[in-house]
Subunit: 256 residues, 2 copies
Amino acid sequence: MASQRGEGETTTTPAEPADRERARAIPEAAVARLAVYLRVLSGMADQGVTAVSSEELSQAAGVNAAKLRKDLSYIGSYGTRGVGYDVEVLVSHIERILGLTRNHSVAVVGIGNLGHALANYGGFPGRGFPVTALFDVDPDLVGIPVGGIPVSHIDDITAVCLEREVSIGVIATPPPAAQSVCDRLVSAGVQCILNFAPVVLQVPDNVEVRKVDLAVEMQILSFHVARRADEALHVSSGGVSIGSNGLGVDGMVIRP
Amino acid sequence: MASQRGEGETTTTPAEPADRERARAIPEAAVARLAVYLRVLSGMADQGVTAVSSEELSQAAGVNAAKLRKDLSYIGSYGTRGVGYDVEVLVSHIERILGLTRNHSVAVVGIGNLGHALANYGGFPGRGFPVTALFDVDPDLVGIPVGGIPVSHIDDITAVCLEREVSIGVIATPPPAAQSVCDRLVSAGVQCILNFAPVVLQVPDNVEVRKVDLAVEMQILSFHVARRADEALHVSSGGVSIGSNGLGVDGMVIRP
DNA sequence: CCGACTTTGTGCATACGTTCACAAGCGGTA
DNA sequence: TACCGCTTGTGAACGTATGCACAAAGTCGG
């Protein structure tokens, strides 16, 4: 579905790409990192730091310095050679690119344990994401305020979302309800969804879905545990293996 | 750091790579998807489905069929040409590769809103991840059971983690505490960490960290909202643009 | 004003991940 | 048994992301 992704831009781009055009060209992975840089930079700004080099910033963000510079180059050239970057300047440019200059109204659907936790974050971490609507099926919950916002019934989702101009929907329902809730959000005009339910959502391709999947994360970690155990077996049993290579950390205890 | 990743295996692999060796070669991205396939397959098994083709499974998992087959090929050849895959067989092989044949004891640190929600999941989604320890600094919380597990004081983290053989630590503390908690988990022998705090953790490279970062997710969505708004401007203002290309979905409403 | 030093921005090579396309292999049928 | 249609498994092409290494461009001291 939807054949447009990169329509020959890479090879033939004669005209000057406007500031807007850029956004499309930023790799998804880089966008995620920009958000991290932004947080680190904000922290620095709060502590009165005004300038930073790519080396410092990259260490604080846990990435390679070259990668950081390349990421920043996607949004423009705002550094000073021989000096580094002005913290304030970077912050404002990243905010602009990430669309954080305007507020994004958030709706949370499913006011269970997780929904409560999300609603109580009160606005969202980092701000700029005010929670303006809560929904649940349970009639007993409807009307009760959570984190300052009264819960609405899920049947009112379309009206409420339109009225409050919700731009991001958060799904925190049990798995069976997720797809149906998603459909309703979409028909209410919500184009961005953050999904906590362990379900693969089917959406039209003008809708952006990000998922946060606890089970998957745990299983990835489990995989690494297993891989390590196997490697350890390998080392102790036979293979020549890596041996001593001047690493600092290898006092890795394996329980029998 | 740690220069070992792929040590020339791709080009010269004379010997038969043992079942164990395989694990190392599975791309991280594929591992994440395997976890998704596993869930979809489990659901099918529960509904009595015994066989499935790559086409069906890929649709249910929301990925390309070729990608799915390649992902499955990383773990071995367990399909039947002309027929498809046996659901039970696939489930058990994926479980084996992901290390789900044994339990992974989980500790949750930080019993705030999120910590409560996590503890109350009771075991973890998908099971195989029993929560066996909870920690907090607040003395008022210590001793009180949450989701059936009494909260321990964070100062006891080393002893308790060792005793209960915790293999995965979940950090759900406020940002300032995260790094310190992480350090303590690591020195208690925990090698896998799931971090919910909006902080870049510094760990030795024998420790695997996965992060779940609400703020970053929201900002990525925000970026896409902004990108779309820009594209819409572009289309309506001047550019020749993509125009009519036989797509079904373009009744995309933009609010002014 | 110049030269030494520092740090950015980026072209290029490499590694990684995705997609295509098709041979290989299996079940069913005559 | 021989054929036919279907689906897997994978080699090879493609595209994207990462990391290196260096020219460009700035500051600072003399």
